[in-house]
Amino acid sequence: MMFDVEKIRKDFPILDLRVNGKPLVYLDSAATSQKPLQVLDAVRNYYLTSNSNVHRGVHYLSEQATIVFEKARKTIASFINANPEEIVFTKNSTEALNLLMYSYGMSKIKEGDRIVLSEMEHHSNIVPWQQLAIRKKAELSYIPVNKEGILEENAFSLMEKASITSIMHISNALGTINPIGKMAPLAKENSVFIVDASQSVPHMPIDVKKLGCDFLVFTGHKMLGPMGIGILYGKKELLEEMPPFLFGGEMITEVHKYSSKWSTPPQKFEAGTPDVGAVIGLAKAIDYLSSIGMENIHSHEKELVSYALETAPENVEIYGPKDSSKRAGILSFNVKGIHSHDLSTILDSEGIAIRAGNHCAQPLHEKLGLPGSARASFYLYNTKEEVDALWKGVEKAKKLFGV
């Protein structure tokens, strides 16, 4: 199939908005993506034709809701080459990581065990492990990041003594693509390797078997899906061993006054009524992405980033890998003499949406010695004209500030 941006954009009516009298230029998909009509229609259609609680009733609608819900789980599983019983629904990536911390971490980690993260992690892949380390008196180590925003490979040996290693696949702050495939085999036996794929599953083909990870998390709202749905992938044998995270309905097979028995995974980890509409929406988003092709999406974004790098104005300092094969569709930068928040406000007056600040990666910004940065992030619906608009806005800000 031909990759046709103009055709794709027609599926996203929000992109036709005018902001401050200018056409919206949405360059903040790393924060959350926009949603195509197909996804909105699927959610609406679910509520119009199948809404009911899942796994509970035996009446028509309840069976219908359960069927579409479990079909969605299959779609999501096959998208990352997993089995449906290895897919646990959570609220978002953050909740998936917390599930791992509370369930796997609290039951397995002992005093003196080592947890390895990297210095570029998102706060949601730092804070839960920090808490685990504090509660269990475990040791927390970080794989350092160098000036170019690349992990120091000679520190990968830290993993050899780790009980848990949790690393992001693509940095939301720098766009760096980490060598997950190279790292996974370094995890010792009886330890687990967790991948935060929040920024990679939406943008490139992902195969959990090829990556070689034990767990992988991602979040639906960054991949054209609704907010409120996240995914935890876990190897079946690990999910089977792990204790439940939340207790209540849905996650039990038997409840007596003084004891209960748990369901098998994934239901064991899905207490309470799930956001069925969001699950349906995510499955539709995956159908949409698949029909365009993840390879095509990845190359389109790479093209936009290369173009942005080539055309960046003077005095724009760009962070992250120079080698474009190590970089995804994320571009973080600062304009000398302009605070990133001010730049963002000026660009906003031109209709351009970027992110400014530390992008939930304060330790990374501290390491790089930056108070913050501006970030433009691209998705399948962005165009070269929008990159031009970004740099034109930056030129305008430079003139205003006299830099």
Partner: protein, 114 residues
């Protein structure tokens, strides 16, 4: 938002050599830092200035606040409300609620320390 007057204001940074008080604070989420310097005599603020680094809004609001409190008594300054401080700025942040914390940084530092 009209940036030009703010850019001028934000350049008025001045460290005070003979201050009697200096209060420092920051917004950890964005890294903005402000120090407010006061020279107080007989409970009256003879001179006030600021220094720091950060966005135009946090710097300009520190400039306006320190200008405003010059010559006032400490009692008068303690009575200054958040609303009055924001009014000094004279621009509308209602459409930019995320920038409110920038505008309030110097005010909060002053209030917490007086």
């Amino acid at each position: 938002m009209d940036f030009e007057p703010l850019i001028e204001l934000s350049k008025k940074k001045r460290k005070m050599q003979d201050s009697t008080h200096s209060f420092k604070g920051s917004n950890s989420s964005c890294g903005d830092e402000v120090t407010i310097f006061l020279r107080v005599k007989n409970d009256r603020i003879e001179d006030a200035s600021f220094d720091g680094r950060g966005c135009i809004i946090s710097m300009a609001s520190a400039a306006l606040l320190t200008e405003h409190i010059k010559g006032k008594t400490l009692e008068e300054v303690k009575k200054l409300t958040k609303e009055a401080h924001l009014e000094l700025l004279g621009f509308d942040l209602s459409r930019n609620p995320s920038r409110l914390k920038c505008a309030l940084l110097s005010f909060i530092i002053l209030k917490e320390n007086l």
